[in-house]
Symmetry: C2
Subunit: 133 residues, 2 copies
């Protein structure tokens, strides 16, 4: 670590010292980088993407969610736990049934940005961006 700070690792000969120290000044900590990565990790699975997209439309129970995305209820339940842990969804109970819904609007915004990046100038994303609003 001290070695790193002095830029004196002999294997590395091309370092632009000013550039490196300038960027280090503003660099995020490992913890923050990890938190950020964790959010994206939560969204980095097509099953969860489909679940969140469905919940964007309306609240749904576990079993409906499974039917909508054509997945097993067990799988959906496992994934819901991940979404719950990461505060992306909330739920209310009505008898035996749990109704899940989006915790807030962050997911919508993230999906919007994600689709805009994915689509570039392609047209297929237009209707979904439109739906997201």
């Amino acid at each position: 670590m001290a070695d790193f700070d002095r830029f004196d690792r002999c294997e590395v000969t091309c370092i632009h010292e000013e550039a490196v120290s300038a960027v280090r000044q503003v660099m995020i900590s490992d913890d923050v980088a990890q938190s950020l990565a964790d959010i994206f990790k939560t969204l980095a699975d097509s099953t969860r993407v489909k679940m969140l997209f469905a919940l964007m439309h309306r609240e749904l129970c576990v079993c409906d969610l499974a039917a909508v995305i054509r997945a097993s209820e067990s799988s959906v339940s496992h994934q819901l736990r991940i979404l719950r842990t990461n505060k992306l969804v909330k739920f209310r109970r009505d008898g035996k049934i749990l109704y899940y819904s989006l915790a807030d609007d962050h997911v919508k915004t993230l999906f919007k940005q994600g689709l805009e990046h994915a689509s570039h100038d392609e047209a297929w994303a237009a209707q979904f961006l439109d739906f997201i609003k």
Copy 2:
């Protein structure tokens, strides 16, 4: 699949048919869900998050990038390939040195949204959101 479409799987008894078919109407395709998941997957690693955050500040060569985030040059090079493939970074060559930079502003926006979700009412994200602009 026909079974699914008719909602007649005997194991599933709690389906709200109207809800399920309503959401299916607007549901994204598997391909779109996968594309969206792939974008987030690209951002779902703290090494890549740090690399992108560094490149948000200024363009850097592979070796500088490695020094900034304290990772091996080989690892950084592997990760850069992933970022290149997913069109998040671009590069220019100057002699033997390759300078990498962000491909566009989508990453900034995604990080901003991600941090806002992660931070909720916590203060630690303020300076980074401020830096991102």
